[in-house]
């Protein structure tokens, strides 16, 4: 049966497998993976170094040993979570910035388009190939941290923890996919790979460094006087927070923090009335998910939006050789 099925070659599968093998063999990817692996080993060391101090008990999160592995740090190096939120976008950008324009500059794109394949196969295959590799990488990394944790702590993770870790990996993939699509869009738009890489990195820098500064400036300018009603204060805080949420990094941090710290019960401001009488125990997984669902949808939405723009530009373009 299998041999009959493989007789009919599906061009889409052929492109995807070629893209995957190309990427895996490329220096660009090897360097990025080495960087990610190294930082993850470093952060794992930082987490395990004073792990016993971190799980002494006392707070609601302390029962979740395994999740601590991803968020705790002894202060010498950032935690796994911080590293991923920092390096993930870079990895996404590096996988996509030269996907279309290099093919065009090398003259392979027009040859490819002369074959009986739909034009969107190329774009879809590039995205799918990169996403497949990223998925393997991130699930692998999460499991690696888990595995080391098992060896060092000696206690297996609970089902709840395992689920949270799996969902955390999926959110990682979505977040990196967002940056991947942005850089694919740039690679369609800009003819030079260097321009497209720079564009991707500047957007990333803008959001990681400058965006929160700008929002703070706006917030300071608009800040109400001290003596205002509680409702006004809350709505002002909401406004500032919503501004922050235009930053994909902020959305990602909201999601991952909630997933990895089960004690987080709200991402917005809470009034004293709301917190009175609440027992500081962790939220069940379902509730944590409900809390971050809007953020996840926003990330997926952004990803799809960039893809749609890239798609529109690419499908309508006239491809000449070089």
């Amino acid at each position: 049966m299998i041999s009959i099925a493989t007789k009919q070659t599906n061009p889409f599968g052929v492109i995807v497998s070629k893209e995957i093998s190309d990427t895996v063999k490329s220096w660009k990817f090897i360097i990025m993976v080495a960087l990610v692996l190294l930082t993850c080993m470093g952060s794992l060391y930082a987490a395990l170094d004073d792990f016993s101090a971190a799980i002494k008990g006392g707070s609601a999160d302390d029962d979740f040993f395994f999740l601590k592995l991803y968020t705790h740090s002894n202060g010498t190096l950032p935690s796994f979570l911080v590293f991923i939120s920092f390096l993930g976008p870079l990895l996404g950008i590096s996988m996509g910035f030269d996907s279309i324009n290099t093919e065009q500059n090398k003259g392979t794109l027009s040859r490819l388009l002369a074959q009986p394949i739909y034009r969107d196969y190329i774009l879809n295959a590039k995205f799918l190939a990169a996403l497949t590799i990223l998925s393997y990488l991130f699930i692998g990394l999460s499991l690696q941290v888990l595995g080391f944790g098992l060896i060092f702590i000696g206690i297996p993770p609970t089902t709840d923890e395992l689920m949270r870790i799996i969902i955390f990996s999926i959110v990682n993939i979505i977040y990196v996919g967002f940056w991947l699509n942005l850089s694919i869009l740039f690679s369609v738009k800009f003819r030079q790979a260097a321009t497209s890489a720079l564009a991707g990195i500047s957007v990333w820098l803008f959001f990681t460094i400058f965006y929160s500064m700008i929002v703070n400036l706006i917030a300071k300018g608009l800040a109400p006087v001290r003596f205002i009603s509680e409702n006004q204060m809350v709505s002002f805080q909401r406004f500032v927070q919503n501004l922050m949420r235009f930053n994909p990094g902020q959305l990602f941090n909201d999601v991952t923090t909630t997933l990895l710290r089960p004690s987080v019960r709200s991402l917005g401001p809470l009034t004293t009335e709301q917190t009175i009488g609440a027992i500081p125990n962790p939220l069940p997984l379902g509730q944590s998910l409900m809390l971050v669902w809007p953020q996840v949808v926003a990330l997926i939405g952004g990803t799809l939006m960039f893809f749609a723009i890239a798609y529109t530009i690419f499908m309508r373009r006239e491809i000449r050789s070089r």
Binding site: V14, Q115, I117, R320
Partner: protein, 321 residues
């Protein structure tokens, strides 16, 4: 026999105000090698892109093998092999792997693809270099690989856009004879675009001269010369030694040669007579001159090829209009 494989009906392509292709009609028959000859920027590549369905014509219709290229490009691409100008390959892959990839995109399974790729590489003379990375191929080798790449889908039509650019003369001859051979053996229709008329002259059955979006003339070389030349196709040069007689002038010579048909113009230049004529009449001219008791010192014949046509149209401007 009229059996058009490629049919263009009144197609135009406009980019803003610029008209790249202007109301073009063209039909190419099965098994023909058609040369699209024109200077850079004449609209040759644009026409080819429209044939492949890679860009849409602003007006008119294009069909290849009876299939509309604009609405069904995939079906057309199954039957047509297209070698773009300055073709590129994946430099990190070997020639063989590049071909296997193309074959698999055309729906062949891996083992068939490998077999076909190997055969074709032998055929285009790259058998010994098939495992070498294409990044290390010379320009000529890349073009031959390009030809193999085009042939791997068993095409009915192949379109070659400037396939000889940047190859040394020996490589050009090899490539052209390969194209000719393949066309004859497999009855493939070939559309060959070039700005080099010698190459077109060597291989093409029929030529279309393409200038600023229009076909000025089409036909085989002979028809073209007849269409385009109000002057003769041959130029015969004579040097006559008058000996004891008074030196002969061009008017006297014209009178002398008057009985011969096909003479169009006689002129003298520095003791050398130039006779333009529409057929090869050098022997009759020689006979007349000798019979008139002149000594014939020199007689040379020049045949106008596409060269002259080309020069007249592209370099000399369109003075005949």
């Amino acid at each position: 026999m009229d059996n058009p494989v490629i049919q263009l009906n009144g197609i135009s392509k406009k980019y803003g105000d610029f008209t790249a292709v202007n109301d073009l009609d063209l039909s190419i028959n099965k098994g023909e090698i058609f040369g699209l000859l024109g200077p850079n920027g004449a609209g040759k590549s644009t026409t080819i892109l429209m044939l492949m369905g890679l860009t849409e014509p602003s007006s008119g219709s294009v069909s290849v093998c009876g299939i509309n290229s604009t609405s069904k490009p995939i079906a057309v691409k199954k039957k047509v092999g297209y070698l773009p100008e300055d073709v590129g390959f994946y430099d990190d892959l070997s020639g063989l792997d590049n071909l296997i990839y193309t074959a698999r995109l055309n729906g062949f399974d891996y083992s068939t693809a490998k077999e076909k790729a190997g055969e074709l590489l032998e055929r285009v003379g790259l058998g010994n270099d098939k495992n070498k990375k294409t990044g290390k191929y010379s320009k000529g080798m890349r073009q031959r690989l390009g030809l193999a790449d085009v042939l791997i889908k068993n095409p009915e039509v192949i379109i070659l856009d400037e396939p000889t650019t940047g190859i040394d003369p020996k490589g050009v001859i090899e490539l052209l004879s390969l194209i000719k051979k393949l066309s004859v053996e497999q009855n493939i229709t070939v559309l060959f675009s070039s700005h080099n008329l010698h190459q077109v002259q060597q291989v093409c059955d029929r030529v279309g001269i393409f200038v600023s979006g229009k076909i000025l003339a089409e036909g085989n070389i002979k028809e073209l010369s007849q269409k385009l030349f109000t002057h003769g196709m041959y130029l015969i040069e004579l040097r006559i030694d008058s000996g004891d007689k008074s030196p002969i002038g061009s008017e006297e010579l014209e009178k002398l040669l008057a009985p011969i048909e096909d003479i169009q113009k006689v002129s003298a230049d520095n003791g050398l007579f130039q006779i333009e004529c529409s057929s090869d009449i050098s022997s009759s001219i020689a006979k007349k001159v000798i019979e008139a008791d002149y000594k014939l010192n020199l007689l040379s014949k020049k045949e106008y090829g596409l060269d002259a046509i080309y020069n007249r149209y592209f370099e000399g401007g369109l003075s005949d209009d």
